[in-house]
């Protein structure tokens, strides 16, 4: 079904006995292969090389061995950006997935107007990454913003959510949770795959709504939960636009929204510290790789495959 499960099942597929036509195959693949080498693998290798150099775009790269990585060990702003990013990822992704699952289950029960609700809940997923919505967020959570106006109606005095370092990141978490529509649609597709006879059998046995959810829906949905989890983690680790626009590019207040990617941009394209930025990029790749691999490893213990 998905790119992840494809990757997992590649080993098992048998080579077909069809006649090979290497020329046609590679001709059709040519644009992609060209892109792979020129735009992806080439730059990856170059970036790996640059991560061991000091390079400011003007002078030639100077080989400095592991210095960039050693520098990362004592870079307080980098440590802070890691903390910010991890907090963001580990708070917003579970909340987003929980909400996505909850609404998918509700919508899947044949609610009339389901298609309309699904569209409405999905829309923010498309808008969420835009600068326009980030601008809106700046206002909504500003001192005189919509949030405080609404709280004011209830007699609660608000504050400058974005200008306060203790809540600025929270506003970005809310923004990410708001885009739960896309995992929700994937959950909905997964729910469709569960044979209704399981529920019928459970109903005969007298299982209630909650029991059916815990004993049937959840176990059968674990592959989809896993898929959404991996996807949203990868996605959240790379968040940039919202933090950039909401903080005016500074990652403020007091670096409280300084995502790892924002700091990377600041090093590379703000200060032309290209070697260090490359080292950071590889560090990010390792982080994402480790989390994805850990997920795959852990999945053996909680993901349930029916077939």
């Amino acid at each position: 079904m998905s790119a992840l499960s494809e990757l997992g099942s590649l080993r098992g597929r048998k080579a077909s006995g069809r006649k090979k036509d290497n020329l046609a195959g590679y001709l059709f693949l040519a644009p992609w292969l060209l892109g792979l080498f020129l735009i992806t693998i080439g730059p990856m290798l170059a970036s790996l090389y640059l991560s061991f150099t000091d390079y400011n775009l003007i002078q030639a790269p100077k080989w400095i061995g592991l210095d960039n990585f050693v520098r990362m060990l004592s870079d307080q702003r980098l440590h802070n950006s890691l903390k910010v990013t991890f907090t963001y990822v580990f708070v917003s992704v579970p909340l987003q997935l929980a909400l996505a699952l909850l609404l998918a289950v509700v919508l899947d029960r044949g609610v009339r107007g389901m298609a309309l609700y699904r569209s409405i809940f999905y829309l923010p997923s498309l808008l969420g990454s835009s600068v326009a919505i980030a601008i809106l967020w700046r206002q909504v959570f500003g001192t005189e913003g919509l949030m405080n106006q609404v709280l004011g109606l209830a007699g609660i005095e608000g504050k400058g959510w974005i200008s306060d370092p203790s809540t600025a990141l929270g506003t970005l978490v809310v923004l990410n949770v708001w885009t739960f529509g896309s995992p929700m649609v994937i959950f909905l597709a997964g729910l469709r795959q569960i044979p209704s006879m399981y529920y019928e059998a459970a109903a005969v046995d007298g299982a209630g709504t909650l029991r059916r959810f815990v004993s049937i829906t959840l176990p059968l949905l674990t592959p989809i939960v896993f898929f959404n989890l991996v996807l949203q983690l990868i996605h959240a680790f790379q968040s940039f636009t919202q933090a950039f626009v909401v903080s005016g590019g500074s990652g403020g207040p007091s670096d409280s929204t300084m995502f790892f990617t924002l700091y990377l941009y600041d090093r590379g394209f703000g200060n032309f510290d290209m070697g260090y930025a490359s080292a950071m990029a590889w560090f990010l790749l390792v982080i994402i790789g480790v989390f994805t691999a850990a997920n795959f490893f852990a999945s053996k213990y909680w993901v349930f495959y029916d077939d």
């Binding site: 090979k20 059709f28 644009p31 735009i39 730059p43 970036s47 600068v131 994937i186 590379g268 990010l284």
Partner: protein, 292 residues
Amino acid sequence: MTTETLPRTVGRTAILTWPRVRPLIIHVLLAGAALVMLYPVIWMVVSSLRPGNEIFRDPGILVKDLRIENYRVGWNALTEPFTRYLLNSALVVLGAILGNLVSCSMAAYAFARLEFSGKKFWFAIMLLSIMLPIHVVIVPQYILFSNLGWINTVLPLIVPKLLATDAFFVFLMVQFIRGIPRELDEAARIDGCGKAGIFVRIILPLMVPALATTTIFTFIWTWNDFFSQLIYLTDPHMYTVPLALRSFVDSTSSSSWGSMFAMSVVSLVPVFLAFLLGQRFLIKGIATTGIK
């Protein structure tokens, strides 16, 4: 209709039994959730039509006197009229769509239908490349495009698409082509069609839904894209809509929220239209591949 009064009515009349009331409660909750979700966006649209000083006073969404003043001011607030940024964005988007349609469909046809050595290997590489963060390649890509003299042109934003670097679309199309009966290829082959002929005459016309999905996703993502446009377009004349909006935020004080919102609304209209026209394809697209 409030939920508090419901239990009493349930007891009194036989018509309002739990199985009948339940869908009603679900609808109220869903509609409430939908309203909460969309409220900020609706409020922004309404605020863009209000005089600036009212934005900070009124959390409601009723328009008393509708004004398009914010749109006029916003349109001309930056060094170039907003038309310029819309055209720049349109150019980037069109190029990206064209590039993705051509290159991704070719690669997908190869992966789904042709037999060649190393196919499984390249397919695995293609799947892995979907998960690669852009940050790992962005610095050398920038240096490469800078050396080619492509900074402040649309080329760094379009050429990679011509080379199928948006691999999730390759995957999406592979999945789609696998669903097209092979008998059609065989029949065309017997009638004397070559590999290219089968691709152009059989596969492409049948994969229109996948091409539509690709078009709509490319449209929305490229329109919203900020990171790569921020890096490659530094000349205000070349700014695209997201960059213009961002410089709007930086250059004006919060007193001009009205015109800022007006231009934000302008920037969201194409996304919203694409969403309305392409919902079916969007939903199907993320359901089968998980792209968002």
